[in-house]
């Protein structure tokens, strides 16, 4: 069972992110196809980066007992794909949440400015004796 510790932890983490996604409809619960493609492209790009690092002998698989031992390529464990998915999904959810909040506060500021301008215009016409007189 210890062999599944890392993969299990990654899956639990991905599940936690999915709950956040569903609650605030950030990615898969907003635009599923777009979210899947974004994560897919990200994972493939990071795997290519990993393969370059492995080919250059920069890092290698550890002798941890917490991995299944299933390999996607020499020295590249199955778990790495799930780790990279977790990295990309975290990035996507964090950015979508921050960007949405920024967009909302921008919209509110614009709305407030418009209301203020409209009120100033109304007050101006009243001062000239428009509707009151």
């Amino acid at each position: 069972m210890i062999r599944f510790a890392y993969l299990g932890a990654l899956l639990v983490s991905l599940g936690g992110l999915a709950l956040i996604d569903r609650r605030w409809r950030l990615a898969f619960w907003a635009q599923p196809r777009r979210a899947a493609l974004t994560i897919g492209v990200g994972v493939l790009a990071f795997l290519a980066w990993d393969l370059a690092g492995l080919a250059l002998g920069i890092f290698a698989r550890g002798d941890s007992p917490h991995m299944t031992g299933v390999l996607l390529a020499p020295e590249l464990p199955l778990e790495e794909a799930f780790f990279l998915a977790l990295l990309c999904y975290s990035a996507l959810l964090a950015w979508r949440a921050f960007d949405r909040r920024a967009a909302r506060s921008e919209a509110m500021r614009t709305e407030a400015a418009r209301t203020e301008a409209a009120r100033a215009g109304r007050d101006g016409s009243r001062a000239e004796g428009g509707p009151g007189a």
């Binding site: 635009q31 690092g53 920069i58 941890s64 975290s90 964090a94 950015w95 921050f98 960007d99």
Partner: protein, 138 residues
């Protein structure tokens, strides 16, 4: 090639490729995302290395550690904060019509009439400005 060199190369190419899209995105949400991922990397990279999930060739890394994470590993966090929002933005141009077909349909007809009246007057003055004042009172 050392890890630092590989990472700098990857980040340079990624930023170069993403730049036309990246410069149009809001800066603060991107920076906040990078910060979150850097903190997560700091904690979890440290734990993952302690657990022996992967090992580094000490000759190929700078040997500078932030807590237990080699400084080069933060390149992954930065790359994710740059690449994922750009990928989402670019992919949206192709997938939005399938994901939110309803919303797209609402935007379609609304955008079309807005361009049509603009196209009319734009071509009319070329035909003859003298006809316009005559047509308006009638």
């Amino acid at each position: 090639m050392t890890n630092a060199l590989l990472d700098l190369l990857v980040l340079a190419v990624l930023t170069g490729v993403c730049w036309p899209v990246l410069r149009r995105l809001r800066a603060r949400p991107l920076a906040a995302t990078a910060l979150v991922l850097i903190v997560l990397t700091l904690v979890f990279d440290t734990l993952m290395i302690r657990a022996g999930l992967y090992v580094y060739d000490p000759d190929k890394i700078l040997g500078i550690y932030v807590w237990g994470a080699p400084v080069e590993d933060f390149a992954y966090a930065i790359a994710a904060a740059v690449g994922v929002p750009v990928a989402w933005t670019v992919l949206g141009r192709r997938t939005r019509s399938r994901d939110e077909a309803g919303r797209q349909d609402e935007a379609g007809p609304a955008a079309a009439p807005a361009t049509d009246p603009a196209a009319g007057p734009a071509t009319d003055p070329a035909a003859g400005p003298a006809t316009d004042p005559a047509a308006d009172p009638a």
